[in-house]
């Protein structure tokens, strides 16, 4: 692969006013979060100001970066807003990443401070947890780019994996949401299931909600009943935002009276099978909307009324074109920090690596699956080649092939005595849980072509591990 260094702009002090203008305005008594205890805007502003003081005391300065390694929590929201309000860059690290993965990211992105939990409270399967955080000094350098937020695509730091978005870009995406028919309206609620570290939960949930005056309501735990209880908890209309897995949780609940507050469920991530959508509509009688987006640009298109399934209409201001069977999305500047692969972004177009078509008459976009080794696991992106190279690098492994076969599936050829348990343990130190293979096959000999290349065809691999 050809990679090249692209200038990503001088580290710039962001004008932090956008945070107050776009996100933190509104009446002091207006509730913005229900955890389920209501948090009003006055309280949020006070907590953000206090966090700014702590971040500054630990060494964060305008133009620097703060790495947030926090599970979904009020502490995450507060420290994110405080980082931006300090004129600094937020580096978002999914709390499920291992120490190994985080260490690599920190060495690459050299934040001035790292915010991590010192104590996490809350029962199992919580969507939102109570966190007591600590801030510690890491490096004494300016941020590596002028972006407001850095996210790691598939949680790793290779070329075109470190994605930056400017404050202007985030603001533009929030404004885009306000122009999409079918999003939650001011005074309504979003029952928020996706992680706020990733683009759907971050911009479509947190930032849009704060901007538009939509209350954000994470359910008390990850269960169908808890999601419905969150919908039922207030009289105002509620939109459930999630990924396809959450549809199944909801659809398997027992009917328990009318739910007039329930307006819509919207999912991002992978496509929803038509039968699942129909079962949902039969059970709840509300639209099941669909969204398509990427970390690099945020929301690309939507079908929030479920009337174009499986297609989506590009969001206002977004252009989508098809080139040689691949979807490309308008994106004025390269979103990649440092090493950027010109086959991922060039000349104002982001190459999505999604196969798809654009209907010239209606403009509707149909996504038809990935063209590369990236897969979606419950809405989280995983690069199979990263899983494979991690496996191949482990002691006792001669060769490995990782494919997606109803879940991440690894075929491993050991070069000595090796048990599944040993492999599991080694992988758990190096890869976040959602990236680890769901099925591990230890095989005597991986299939190879006559020229010695590893065979990646699923049927051929299945034959090696009957």
């Amino acid at each position: 692969m050809v990679t090249m260094e692209r200038p990503t702009g001088e580290p710039a002090t962001h004008d932090p006013e956008w945070v107050d203008d776009m996100l933190l305005g509104g009446g002091s008594a207006d509730v913005c979060l229900r955890l389920p205890e209501p948090v009003d805007r006055g309280t949020l502003r006070r907590l953000v100001a206090e966090a700014q003081t702590r971040l500054a005391a630990a060494g964060l300065r305008p133009g620097g970066a703060a790495a947030l390694r926090l599970p979904p929590s009020l502490a995450y929201v507060v420290n994110l807003l405080a980082t931006w309000r300090s004129g600094a860059q937020a580096v978002l690290l999914d709390h499920r990443l291992t120490d190994h993965e985080v260490d690599r990211a920190l060495a690459r992105l050299t934040p001035q401070v790292v915010v991590a939990p010192s104590h996490v409270a809350g029962g199992a399967l919580r969507v939102f947890v109570d966190v007591t955080e600590t801030v510690h000094r890491y490096a004494d350098r300016p941020a590596t780019s002028g972006h407001a937020v850095i996210q790691l695509s598939s949680g790793s730091t290779g070329p075109s994996k470190v994605i930056g978005r400017t404050a202007d870009d985030l603001v533009a995406e929030v404004r885009r949401y306000t122009r999409i028919d079918g999003v939650a309206l001011p005074g309504e609620r979003i029952v928020l299931l996706p992680s706020m570290v990733h683009v759907l939960g971050l911009v479509g949930g947190l930032l849009y909600g704060l901007h538009a005056g939509v209350e954000l309501v994470p359910p008390t735990r990850l269960s169908g009943d808890a999601i419905l209880a969150a919908v039922r908890a207030q009289d105002t209309p509620a939109t459930v935002l999630g990924v396809p897995f959450h549809i199944g949780l909801l659809a398997s609940t027992r009917p328990d009276g009318p739910l007039p507050q329930f307006r819509r469920m919207t999912t991002g991530g992978e496509l929803v099978p038509a039968a699942t959508a129909q079962a949902f509509a039969d059970r709840f009688g509300v639209p099941l909307g669909n969204m398509y987006g990427m970390t690099e640009v945020g929301v690309i298109g939507t079908d929030l009324h479920g009337e174009h399934r499986p297609s989506i209409m590009p969001a206002p201001g977004i252009e989508v074109r098809e080139v040689d069977g691949e979807l490309q999305v308008s994106c004025p500047a390269s979103p990649y920090v440092g090493l950027s692969d010109p086959t991922r972004w060039a000349d104002g177009w982001l190459h999505t690596r999604d196969a798809g078509t654009v209907d010239p008459a209606s403009g509707l976009v149909t996504v038809k699956g990935r063209l590369d080794s990236q897969v979606s696991v419950g809405g989280m992106k995983v690069d199979l080649s990263e899983v494979e190279s991690t496996l191949t690098g482990l002691p006792g492994v001669a060769a490995a092939v990782v494919v997606y076969d109803d879940g991440i599936t690894a075929y491993v050829q050991p070069d000595g005595p090796l048990t599944e348990e040993t492999l599991d343990g080694l992988l758990a130190e190096r890869l976040a849980g959602y990236k680890r293979p769901r099925t591990l096959h230890l095989v005597d000999q991986l299939p190879r072509t006559t020229t010695g290349k590893l065979v990646r065809s699923v049927p051929a691999l299945r034959l090696t591990a009957p």
Partner: protein, 81 residues
């Protein structure tokens, strides 16, 4: 109800088959976070009670057998209590 709850390995495999729309004999015995949330949800529905599981208990669940052991412990203690 008293003694061991009547929750069997086959019940959990059946629940996972429903989730993945696969035949029971093709269901993976490994349990990730989504499978776990699904199993807890359906087991709670079946026994009409909430499983009080600790983070440590949940973190230790990696297979269907692990899940079965933890669920049985939780259901038994709830029955006793």
């Amino acid at each position: 109800m008293s003694g061991q709850p009547d929750l069997a390995r086959a019940d959990l495999l059946g629940m996972l088959a429903d989730m993945t729309a696969k035949p029971v004999d093709q269901v993976s015995h490994r349990v990730g976070s989504m499978e776990l949330a699904w199993l807890v949800h359906l087991v709670e529905q079946r026994y009409q009670r909430r499983l009080d599981l600790t983070d440590d208990q949940l973190a230790a669940i990696r297979t269907v057998d692990d899940a079965l052991a933890v669920f049985r412990t939780s259901l038994t203690s709830a029955t006793d209590g």
